[in-house]
């Protein structure tokens, strides 16, 4: 029987999910607090994660969100300029270029605003994401809380690595 390769992802078993249920998907946008809660009624999706999953689907990526996985998660909306994408589990490296392009579109405004800012002391909007990348025998986790421009640089490196690995 197939198993989760990440100790934290095993926590979703508590919510009735199996590896087989998620195996048809290349990217899974998981509830942001998946690891921390025990009661399924407390799960919530970050509102930006919902948009992310829809844009990925529109680009033809096999992407699942909590609705597709029958998780009755709430929606957590933070009325701030920051972007919260929750936990994004990438199971197939082939989709990384599309993922990077979609994320770049979503945070384009934040990048523009940072570059337009004339006052360096003025804080720039932050982006929050926990990426889980499935490798052959492991899952690499990248937890990022920082500015949009740096995230894009990191993701571009990730994209380049994928291309060179191929």
């Amino acid at each position: 029987m197939a198993q989760f390769k990440d100790i934290e992802l095993t926590s979703i078993l508590r919510f009735g999910l199996t590896y087989d249920k998620i195996s048809p998907f290349d990217i899974i946008c998981l509830p942001e607090n998946l690891v921390g809660v025990t009661n399924p009624s407390e799960l919530y999706d970050a509102s930006d994660a919902i948009t992310l999953s829809k844009l990925l689907k529109a680009e033809g990526v096999k992407c699942a969100n909590s609705f597709d996985l029958n998780l009755e998660a709430l929606v957590f909306e933070r009325r701030s300029k920051e972007k919260w994408f929750g936990i994004v589990y990438i199971r197939n490296n082939v989709v990384i270029p599309v993922f990077v392009s979609v994320i770049a579109t979503l945070i384009a405004n934040e990048i523009t605003e940072s570059s337009k800012s004339k006052d360096p002391t003025q804080p720039v909007p932050q982006v929050h994401i926990e990426l889980k990348l499935e490798k052959i025998n492991s899952v690499t986790t990248l937890k990022y809380d920082g500015d949009a421009q740096t995230l894009i640089s990191i993701l571009k490196t990730l994209e380049a690595d994928t291309v060179s690995t191929e």
Binding site: Y44, D45, S47, I50, T51, S53, K54, L55, K57, A58, N65, S66, F67, D68, L74, V75, F76, E77, R78, R79, S80, K81, E82, D119, Q122, P123, V124, P125
Partner: protein, 234 residues
Amino acid sequence: MISQEKFINDCAAKFEEWFNNFKLREYDKCNRIARTHIDTCRIILKGEKWNSEEANNITYISGVLFSGLNEFVRIAELTRGGTWPMDNKRTEEIWKLMWNSLERFEFCSPYFVAQQFDSIKERLEELREDFVTNFGHGFYASPEILIKKEICSICGKDTRACLHIGGNLYNGEMCYNVPKDIQMRTVSVVTVPRDPRCRIWPWNMKEDRTFQTAIIVLFTIDDWLDEPKLEHEN
């Protein structure tokens, strides 16, 4: 109903007419032009609509544009004389109008290109800088909301179950994520807000360090689609 071709050709002509009157400070004429155009857009979109999605989207965009222009005229009236930073109530009103029109123009910008439009947006950016000069970058109320169910305004399904994207136009209709059964968790004071209209102004701060401010403003760029209120209803 006005023909689709005539309406679309008229949009640019109306804008030029509005701009020429604005340069002459004929604000009443500007308001009349904008209101008439907004009424036409509302009648089209609330009525039978065109057969073309593109034409309906253009109608929506021009309604948003002229609604922003209406606010821009009001800003011009309120900032005339340059003494507005001394008047707290007026400052608050200009701030809200500025963000309303900035939001509307930002939406229209990818679709409407004109040198005169650029000069209007530049004027708003200058006004934004005037606010920084006079009042600093400011602090804002920013609530965190838990939503039990969120519905897509286009298809009525759970927002996670469809492919409509919030903020995109579909046949002259804006897609919104409509929250049902909401619970406010916390309200934070932030420096980079999603909605700058929730600004905490120093004059609204009491001696005991409590303050009054809006935490959510129910603003949408297509509020002009609602029937205008009669004078006695205001």
